[in-house]
């Protein structure tokens, strides 16, 4: 019971945080996305920041506004509190790396040391179904102008990601669809017949009540405006 109580709390905190990010992306005001200091941020909040990953800083990243130092301190604490274990899955390593990159960018003068980029071998020869699932989990990496290994791997397989988007929509997996859709707004050579713009609207109407879906769609909207990745 205790465990499920904790996971419900965490899930609620993740949803709240995602809602704050969505509001900030829509309004342009992101000063109150993260708690205003490490003292106020309890374990559940820190865990929620870790779950949402680099997207907790997304408003600052996409809107190119200076970071709020107090919120940044919370973000840094979350990065440091949850380092990937030696046997962590590639997506865990990469999402942690993405947080480190976001932190480093937001505070280039800070003392935080950026870890080395993890490998992408696990995506070599991956089926389009698995590839899309993994990329959707790593949607915080889908940002304009980046050149990391996952982004390069995604850029080589646009049609496969588009297939994965269709699969996710068909299966009513709105989080995966929204994450894949966010990648597709950046990738070159998306098939015209996909109807991505209408597809994202469809996902929003069907699953946009979920803040984690709404966050990806809002990110996609901003990315579509800022232009392609490669």
């Amino acid at each position: 019971m205790e465990q499920s109580g904790t996971s419900t709390l965490l899930q609620g905190a993740v949803q709240d945080l995602a809602s704050s990010v969505v509001s900030a992306l829509r309004s342009g005001d992101h000063t109150h996305v993260l708690p205003a200091g490490t003292e106020e941020a309890g374990d559940v909040t820190l865990a929620a920041v870790r779950v949402l990953g680099a997207d907790a800083l997304l408003p600052g990243t996409l809107l190119r506004t200076p970071p709020d130092p107090a919120g940044l301190a919370v973000f840094r604490k979350a990065v440091e509190a949850y380092p990937p274990r030696a046997d962590a899955a590639p997506t865990v390593r990469w999402s942690h790396w993405a947080m480190a990159r976001a932190l480093h960018r937001a505070d280039p003068s800070g003392t935080f040391e950026r870890p080395d980029e993890p490998g992408t071998g696990w995506l070599d020869g991956a089926s389009w179904q698995f590839l899309t699932h993994q990329l959707a989990v790593l949607a915080p990496l889908a940002l304009p102008g980046e050149d990391d290994g996952v982004t390069r791997a995604a850029g080589r397989r646009t049609v496969d990601v588009a297939r994965g988007f269709v699969r996710a929509v068909r299966r009513r997996d709105w989080r995966q669809a929204a994450g894949a859709g966010r990648w597709l707004t950046l990738l070159p050579g998306v098939p015209e017949t996909l109807g991505l713009r209408a597809g994202l609207e469809f996902v929003e109407l069907m699953g946009g009540q979920d803040p984690q879906v709404a966050l990806q769609l809002e990110a996609a909207r901003l990315l579509a405006r800022t232009g392609a990745l490669v």
Binding site: W128, Q129, R163, F165, R167, R170, T193, L194, G195, G199
Partner: protein, 305 residues
């Protein structure tokens, strides 16, 4: 690429089941007029069409070819009474295209019933027949059948295809079961049931190459074997078939030891006639997909050597 033997054996099993259950291809002369005498003609027409594909492709074993020939003979001579039942059905529902649709594959295999051809020629001249309301894909099929019978199609196929779902190459995430059947049948008509893969316009072929893998993946996981079989036929109609290994293995594994292919998930239980009515189509589709995919796999092997 999938083992050709596995693909071929699906068709071998399917033909054995169809032969063993040939009594299921039956008419019901005393049927309630509300249901309609012509309802039971459809399975017979589909059987003849698939047997025609089997002879055309020439990749069936001698036993398969023998069963196909006997099935055609039996249904033509006994069930259709040498085609006279088609004429009877036409007189019951004079505007129905069904007798003509059922007749065409028999005609192409050398069976003949001149009176049905007179009916077809007469109907083809009637304006009301050209515009009676039906789905665009069915309309395309009727035009294709008119051409195959030697008539001038009304409307021409190039015009008929324009109204179909597939010709517009729409958003692939909107496809659900009924639309998927429209897609498969549109491909059957455009390629003369796999005889002319070049009949697929380039944009449609490209659209299918891109999105067919998603639909195959989807209906495979849903264990909709009937639709999956039709999608595997579509794959075999593409310029470069994938002969998807995962799909073919699961399709083969779903087939029963006696050759029956369940329509959805597992075999239904019930009276033999009722079971036949549920699974005859998926079993015919299994034979169709098998013969076409085998033929394409062998052509690729021949081309590669």
């Amino acid at each position: 690429m999938t083992d050709t033997r596995l693909i071929h054996n699906v068709g071998v099993g399917a033909m054995e089941w169809l032969w063993a259950h040939r009594d299921g291809f039956r008419l019901e002369p005393g049927v309630d007029p509300e249901i309609g005498f012509l309802e039971r003609f459809k399975p017979i027409g589909e059987l003849a069409m698939i047997c025609g594909v089997l002879f055309r492709e020439g990749v069936a074993g001698s036993r398969q070819a023998e069963l196909a020939r006997r099935l055609l003979d039996t249904t033509w001579r006994e069930t259709l009474d040498g085609g006279r039942m088609l004429v009877r059905g036409q007189r019951i529902e004079p505007m129905s295209p069904i007798p003509f649709e059922v007749y065409l594959p028999y005609r192409e295999l050398g069976y003949s019933q001149p009176e049905i051809e007179r009916w077809a020629a007469m109907l083809q001249r009637i304006d009301g027949w050209e515009v009676f309301e039906t789905t665009p894909t069915r309309r395309l099929g009727l035009s294709a059948f008119q051409r195959r019978l030697g008539l001038t199609p009304r409307p021409p196929e190039a015009e008929a295809v324009k109204g179909t779902w597939l010709a517009r190459t729409p958003e692939p995430w909107m496809v659900e079961g009924r639309i998927a059947y429209d897609i498969t049948h549109c491909v059957f008509h455009l390629t003369d049931w796999g005889e002319r893969p070049e009949g697929l316009p380039a944009d449609i072929a490209d659209y299918l190459r891109t999105w067919l893998p998603v639909w195959i993946d989807d209906w495979l996981d849903l264990e909709r074997w009937d639709l999956l079989g039709e999608l595997l036929v579509v794959d075999a109609c593409l310029p470069r078939p994938t002969l998807d290994e995962r799909a073919w293995k699961a399709f083969a594994a779903a087939q029963q030891p006696d050759g029956a292919m369940p329509a959805i998930r597992e075999m239904p239980e019930g009276e033999p006639d009722d079971v036949f009515d549920v699974v005859y189509h998926s079993t015919l589709v299994a034979a169709f997909a098998s013969v076409l995919a085998t033929s394409r796999a062998l052509s690729e092997l021949a081309g590669a050597s």
